[in-house]
Subunit: 447 residues, 2 copies
């Protein structure tokens, strides 16, 4: 693959050379496709979809990040969109359509086969990060009174449909379609032909409600070796199957999204293929709040302007104290967020975390305070100045680490998103305290 494969594609698209475009697309690996697609505009992607047709178009959609898949599906004709989406699995189809704007979604669903459209509408009822939002509705169920031989015959008949999905389990149901048990393929393979399904199935299997959370799903799949688990409604009727892989993928996306949010990309997703203005807007929302929060720290400096005038060298150290306290605090935030997600700490255990963090804060406070005191004394030749900035950084580090460790737990208890809110709360507090400590110490001993 050359360095600029999308130029080649653009040329062939502009020449409207359908065969040549398809050939090029077939040559690429999935990672090449993702890479090329990220360099095309939404309109170009739309033309590419039109040229590729439903089946290859669906392959393209599958390798795009969701936001890009949604933009391009909104661009193409509803007929084309409907036939592309028909090629996706039920959960991927629902993910894309769930994010498509209302009018386009309705236009596409009008052109979709009624049973599939109904299935999509049912799946869209569930929030994305729940068992219902993550499950797919392609599964193989059969009555528990069948024999193993009859079950194998059934599978043989459905073999073509089944071959599109990596089915690992069969689901045994009763006459009201309520889940009775799970039959691993291996059990079926090893069973005597006349054994009843009810004898070889795992009875009372682990199952989820449609609204069970991603965290709960992830915890279960960490505990158990299952490759998938059934999702049932309140009456116990089998609704779909959530696979381990879908849960893992959603967990990876959530971790990345939390990281983006902690840096102030409020939606948790940004890619350079999005329009620049939208990208600016998503980042600015948080930056504007942050600049206003910064003013709280600044107003502490303003209150001590005469102190600062008398000891101007302090101005050199204020940004260091702000930055270092923020860094120390954010390390503690990261450890707490990780421990919350691993389940080794729970939101109620404030005192436990405070005790553990205070200890680290004291050690690091002494070390960093001494380091800054030494540097300031040597650089400015003023031991008193060194003592002031070292003391201030030391105490503020203890505070920053203690607050950083506990703030995510507090925010989680209040029901907010700790990834989004912990950082700004922490740095505002550490700025205010850091500047106050430095300048009030200076007012006492320097000026």
């Amino acid at each position: 693959m050359s360095d600029s494969p999308w130029y080649e594609l653009e040329e062939r698209l502009e020449a409207n050379d359908v065969e040549a475009v398809r050939e090029l697309f077939e040559e690429w690996s999935e990672s090449d496709r993702t890479h090329v697609a990220s360099h095309l505009s939404t309109d170009q992607l739309g033309s590419l979809l039109d040229v590729l047709g439903a089946e290859a178009g669906a392959e393209l959609i599958e390798c795009l990040p969701l936001s890009q898949a949604v933009s391009v599906i909104e661009t193409v004709e509803p007929d084309a969109a409907a036939s592309i989406l028909a090629e996706l699995s039920s959960d991927e189809r629902a993910d894309v359509l769930g994010a498509v704007a209302e009018p386009e979604r309705e236009a596409i669903l009008d052109r979709t086969e009624p049973a599939t459209a109904e299935d999509v509408r049912a799946l869209l009822e569930y929030p994305p990060d729940t068992a219902g939002g993550l499950m797919h509705t392609e599964f193989f169920s059969l009555r528990s009174r069948y024999t193993a031989a009859e079950a194998i015959d059934e599978i043989r008949r459905a073999a073509e449909t089944l071959s599109r999905y990596s089915i690992q389990y069969l689901y045994a149901i009763d006459d009201q379609k309520r889940l009775e048990g799970v039959v691993p393929l291996r059990s079926l393979l090893l069973a005597p032909p006349d054994a009843e399904i009810s004898e070889i199935m795992i009875a009372d299997p682990v199952s989820f409600g449609a609204l069970d959370s991603l965290d709960r799903l992830y915890a279960m799949f960490q505990e158990e070796e299952f490759l998938g688990a059934p999702v049932v409604d309140e009456a116990g009727v089998l609704l779909g199957v959530v696979e381990r892989a879908a849960v893992d993928d959603a967990t990876i996306e959530e971790a990345e999204s939390d990281h983006m949010k902690s840096l102030g990309i409020a939606s948790g997703e940004e890619l350079r293929s999005m329009p620049s203005l939208e990208r600016s807007r998503k980042r600015l929302a948080w930056l504007s709040i942050n600049i206003l929060l910064n003013l709280l720290g600044a107003s502490v400096i303003a209150a001590y302007e005469s102190t600062l005038q008398g000891a101007i060298a302090l101005a050199v150290f204020l940004p260091i104290i702000s930055d270092m306290s923020g860094c120390s605090g954010n390390q503690a935030v990261a450890v707490s967020l990780r421990e919350l997600s691993l389940g080794v700490v729970r939101p109620a255990e404030l005192l436990h975390v405070l005790g553990k963090e205070a200890l680290v804060g004291i050690v690091n406070g002494i070390a960093l305070g001494a380091l800054l005191a030494g540097v300031a004394t040597l650089w400015r030749g003023d031991a008193m100045l060194g003592a002031v900035v070292g003391m201030a950084l030391g105490i503020n580090t203890v505070l920053a680490v203690s607050v950083g460790g506990t703030v995510p737990l507090l925010i989680k208890r209040m029901g907010w998103d700790p990834a989004l809110a912990s950082g700004p709360i922490l740095t505002t507090l550490t700025d205010v305290c850091g500047f106050f400590l430095t300048l009030s110490f200076a007012a006492a001993v320097l000026v």
Copy 2:
């Protein structure tokens, strides 16, 4: 489960009431076990392992974070450790032993069944984030000239061993143990009894070399629906099987570790169950470098002390300019790290990224510059001061966003870890430039 379940456990441990301890342990879910274990000291965990015995002990080890599992295995008697580790799967056993200190590891391996010990030593040859490091060596292989009926008989004979692992595929090998094909259980189920394995297997299957990277494994499992893939040596001999779940888990851990590293926890892992001094040391390593890098920015302020003396209000705004530029730049860093990991951008595409980021930087620079200029003018009643800080923040934002977007690509091209190095390089540069812009503008117009 009560709020403080570990007190109950501590009491029973101290009373040496073996039965009561085992009962309590059996009652807990895996998440309870993880949570309780995180509140016990390594010695207490060691006593708990001794009481539980090999099988339940292995269950406990499985639900501990790796670093904690390693400390406790190092604490118990080598005999006990060997019998606990014998209960783990080959990949988990190698993960734990790979992190155990050399002398303890040798003592444990001396007490391990020779075939298992040899297997561990072979697995330890591979770095953790490679196909060899992630694979397990429990798989079911058979000659391709067998018939389906013979294969099913073989499986029946091995059923007890197999039931401990979630086997989905059988591997067809030739007389030199070289991989010839993969047989999904479903194909075996649907095949006529006298069909030869060579007819029903997937010939020339996707396979990995033992040193293939985690990124490559993850990309393949994203492209294909497989639940596992074979790992072979240079001669094509089957070494083990790497499962999708193992690759997903390692990817989740890598994402979390990158996040920790980007905040200055250099090892990429920290839990509060680690000794406080070790936790301090891991955080301090990076903080001490950071404080020295901060001095570069501070020295710019020091060079302009007379300017600052003449316009002391500037000191109020310097920390804001430092913090806001750092935030804007880190947003761009996060988007680049994500795009690199998704494969939508490649390290060579500096100019492409620069073009895209500069645009966002200009829009956000104008917006944030105008906001700060307005605030400063209103607050201090000095339009010239507002113009200086607004201009400086605006220009520095363009710079921070452009540098933030491109620095991870540059670092990756140089073969370093962009998660670890991007942040400090970025903020040092934005501090130096931000302070220089503010103070040189002020020197020109204010003083």
